[in-house]
Symmetry: C2
Subunit: 405 residues, 2 copies
C-alpha cells in the first residue's frame, strides 16, 4: 500500500479541501491519503474553530484515511519550522510522497527556486536583512530579496502564501526526507484570505468562518461550500460545547496574563522581543477587545500573523526555554483518527516506526508532549460554560483515535 | 489636633463599624479618626465587594476623617504582617493612638498576653510546632499552645478572630511605635463570621454580603444594618460597573493561570509550598467553580483563609521574590480620601512626614507601588464588561484623593 501525505488545518474542512484531496489521490497514484493536521492552535496564531477531534471527524468523513497531529511546537510557527515538522511526520509515518496546493501549481518551479536560493544563500540573506533594516516586515523583505536574485529557470512567485509554504515543504524534503516525492496542484478559485464568496462551490476557509460567526447568517448560505458532513459536525459541536472558538473568547485571559506579568516575565515568552512587551502592557490596559488590542499593536514592522503568534505564546505561556528544548523535528506521532484502510496501513508500519506512536494522551510520556497538553487545556477555556470546558478537556485526555467506517 | 487610628476593611461599611467609630472617638478623646483600609484585596484573601474608592466614600460619609490604604503586601497577609503594616502607617501619618474592636474589650488583658508570650516565647513556639506536626492548622496550633502557657494575670481568649488581630496590633505597637496609645472596645452583637442576621441593627459584613449576592433578596432587608449612604454607594457601584466583585468572577482567570503554569512556576508564587501546587493543578482541571475548587483543596492542614490567600497570590502573580523585596513596614502612604478636618490635619503634618505621600498613582514611584498597581489591574478584570474594566482601571490611575464636605 502506498500512502501520500497532505499538510492541513481544516478550519473547517470545505469543498476546496475535497478538491485537493481528490487531485492528490489522482496525481500521486497513492492508495491512501494521510493528513498531518495542526492541533488546537493554527499557524496564523489562532485557535481552531472547533477541536482537533471534530476536525478529524470532518477529514475522515470526506475520505482522508488517517489523521496525525502536527504538535504545537511546529504548528504555531513561521513557515520554515511548520513545514519541517509536517514533512518530517509524513515521512516518519511512512508516506512515499506528499502533495500540496499552491498558486503556482508546477513542482519544477518549486525545485528550481529552492536550488537557486540555496546557491545564492548569502546574497539572499544579506538582502533580506537590508530590507528589514529599512523597516519592512519579514515577508515583504523576503519577497523583495527574492526579486533581486538572478535566475535562468522558471521560478515561483514567492509573495503568494501557499507558494511560500510549498517552498518550505520542498526545502524541508530536501533536508530531511530526500526519498519523499513532492507533488503540487494548483489551488482553484478561492484566494487564501478572501473574505467573500466568489466561486459557485469553492470558498476560502476565512469566508466560511466569517459567515459562521456572522449574526445575520441566513440558513444554508455556506452549505454549497462545505460537505454536508462538515456542516453536521460544526452544528453538533456548537450544540455540544456551546460555541466555536475564536480569539475574542480568549481575550479576557490574554489581557489578564499580560496585565499580571512583568515586562521581564513577558520577555521569557517565545517570540517576544525588541521591547514589544511594553507596547503590549500599555495596549492591554486600554483595549476593549482582542481586535482592538491587535489594532493598537499593529505596525508596518510586524505582520498580523506574527503578532497573533506572539499573543498565542503568551496565552499558552510558552517560553523561549521550553521551545529551545524541542527537537528540530517532532519526537512523537500522535494519531487522531483513521478508517479501515488507514488501520491496515498502520498495522503494517507499526513495527518499523522510529518514533513513539501516541494513541491516547493519558498513556503517553507527559513530559515530551507537555506543550500540547498545555495548549489543549488553554484551548478548552475558550468555551462559555465550565461544564463544556471540562468535557473538552476530558475528551483530550481519554479520547482514543477516532475510527471511521 | 489629635488623631486616633482604626484598621478597617469596610466590606461594606455597616452599623457595627459606625458604632466602633463613635466609641473610638469617645474612648480616645481624639479630634479626628484616620482609617487605614485594605485596598482591593482583603486579609482573608478575597476581592473587596466594591473598589477602594467606593469604600472610601462610604467611610467619609459616615464620619471617618481620612482614609489611607494598607498596601497589598500587608493587606493580604496573616495577622502579624497585616498588623505591623497597619500600625506602622497609623504611626507614620501622625496618630497619637489607635483603637480596635475585640471580643475581649479590655486593653490590659491584651498587654498582659503580649508580655507573657514574649517572656515564654521559646516554649510557646516549640509547642506551636509540635501541634502543627500533629496535623493542626496554624491557628488551632496557636490557640492550643496558648492554653498551655502559665499565667497569673488576666489574658485574652486567643481563639477569637478579633482578639488575634488585636494581639498583633499591640505587639506591633510595642515593636515599632511605642508612643502610640492602644485602646480596645468590645464588639457588639454580631460575630465575625455570622451568616445570619440576629441583632436589630448590627449584622456582620459576611451576612450583609451574603444578602447582597442572594438572588431572592427582598428590597430593604439590609437597610436596617447599614447606613443609608452605604446603600447608595453600593447601588451606584453596581449600576456603574455592572456587578460587585467576588471570587467567582475571577475563577476563569485563576483556572487559566493554574492550568497554564508549570508546577515550578507555581512554586515561585508567594505562600505556595509543601507540594500544594500539584493538588491545585489537578483540582483546577476538574473544578467547575471557585467554591468547587476550594472544596477540593480544603484539608485539616490548611485553613480556608490560607488557601484563599494562596489563590489570590496566584491570581495576582505575586512571587516570593517580589514579597521578599518588600520592606518590613510600608514605604509610602497612599491617601484615598479625607474631609476638611482631615485636610487640616494633613496640612499641619505634611512637612514632617517620613514617608512619601501618594495622592495620585500616575505621579507616584511606579516601582515602589508595583504590587498595588498589579492588584488593581487584576481586580478590575472581575467586572463583567470590557468598558467597565477599563473605567475602573482608569479611575485607579487618575483619581485624586476623594474630598468630602
Amino acid at each position: 500500500m502506498k500512502a501520500t501525505g497532505v499538510v492541513v488545518e481544516y478550519n473547517p474542512f470545505h469543498n476546496g479541501h475535497l478538491h485537493h484531496l481528490n487531485e492528490t489521490r489522482k496525481t500521486s497514484g497513492a492508495d491512501l491519503v494521510i493528513a498531518c493536521m495542526s492541533g488546537h492552535f493554527l499557524q496564523r496564531g489562532e485557535p481552531a474553530l472547533v477541536s482537533k477531534w471534530a476536525r478529524t471527524e470532518m477529514a475522515l468523513s470526506s475520505g482522508v484515511d488517517m489523521v496525525i497531529e502536527l504538535p504545537y511546537a511546529f504548528a504555531t510557527q513561521h513557515a520554515e519550522v511548520f513545514a519541517r515538522g509536517a514533512i518530517s511526520l509524513l515521512n516518519e509515518i511512512g508516506c512515499e510522497s506528499f502533495c500540496f496546493g499552491s498558486e503556482d501549481g508546477d513542482i519544477s518551479s518549486f525545485e528550481n527556486t529552492v536550488s537557486l536560493i540555496r546557491q545564492q544563500n548569502r546574497e539572499y540573506n544579506d538582502s533580506i536583512k537590508r530590507y528589514m533594516n529599512e523597516g519592512m516586515s519579514y515577508p515583504s523583505a523576503l519577497s523583495h530579496a527574492f526579486k533581486d536574485l538572478q535566475a535562468d529557470k522558471e521560478l515561483i512567485d514567492l509573495s503568494k502564501p501557499n507558494n511560500i509554504l510549498g517552498y518550505h515543504y520542498v526545502e524541508a524534503r530536501n533536508d530531511i526526507a530526500s526519498d519523499l516525492h513532492a507533488y503540487t496542484i494548483s489551488r482553484e478559485s478561492a484566494g487564501y484570505h478572501d473574505e467573500h464568496f466568489s466561486s459557485p462551490s469553492i470558498a476560502s476557509a476565512t469566508s466560511i468562518r466569517k459567515s459562521l460567526f456572522s449574526q445575520e447568517r441566513e440558513d444554508g448560505v455556506i452549505d454549497q461550500y462545505i460537505p454536508h458532513s462538515t456542516l453536521c459536525t460544526l452544528e453538533n459541536y456548537k450544540e455540544t460545547f456551546g460555541d466555536y472558538h475564536r480569539w475574542e473568547n480568549y481575550w479576557a485571559l490574554l489581557q489578564y496574563k499580560i496585565l499580571s506579568s512583568s515586562p521581564t516575565r513577558l520577555r521569557d515568552i517565545y517570540e517576544i522581543e525588541e521591547g514589544i512587551e511594553y507596547r503590549m502592557i500599555e495596549s492591554a490596559k486600554a483595549a476593549l477587545s482582542f481586535s482592538d488590542f491587535m489594532g493598537m499593536l499593529k505596525t508596518k514592522r510586524y505582520t498580523w500573523t506574527r503578532l497573533q503568534r506572539m499573543c498565542l505564546h503568551i496565552l499558552t505561556n510558552t517560553t523561549k526555554e521550553e521551545m529551545i528544548k524541542q527537537h528540530s523535528t517532532p519526537s512523537y506521532i500522535r494519531l487522531l483518527g483513521m478508517n479501515p484502510k488507514g488501520q491496515a496501513f498502520l498495522n503494517a508500519r507499526k513495527k518499523v516506526l522510529n518514533l513513539p506512536l501516541i494513541s491516547k494522551l493519558s498513556s503517553a510520556d507527559q513530559q515530551a508532549i507537555s506543550l500540547d497538553i498545555k495548549a489543549s487545556e488553554v484551548y478548552s477555556l475558550g468555551l462559555p460554560s465550565p461544564s463544556a470546558r471540562k468535557q473538552l478537556l476530558q475528551q483530550e485526555w481519554s479520547q482514543p483515535p477516532i475510527i471511521s467506517k
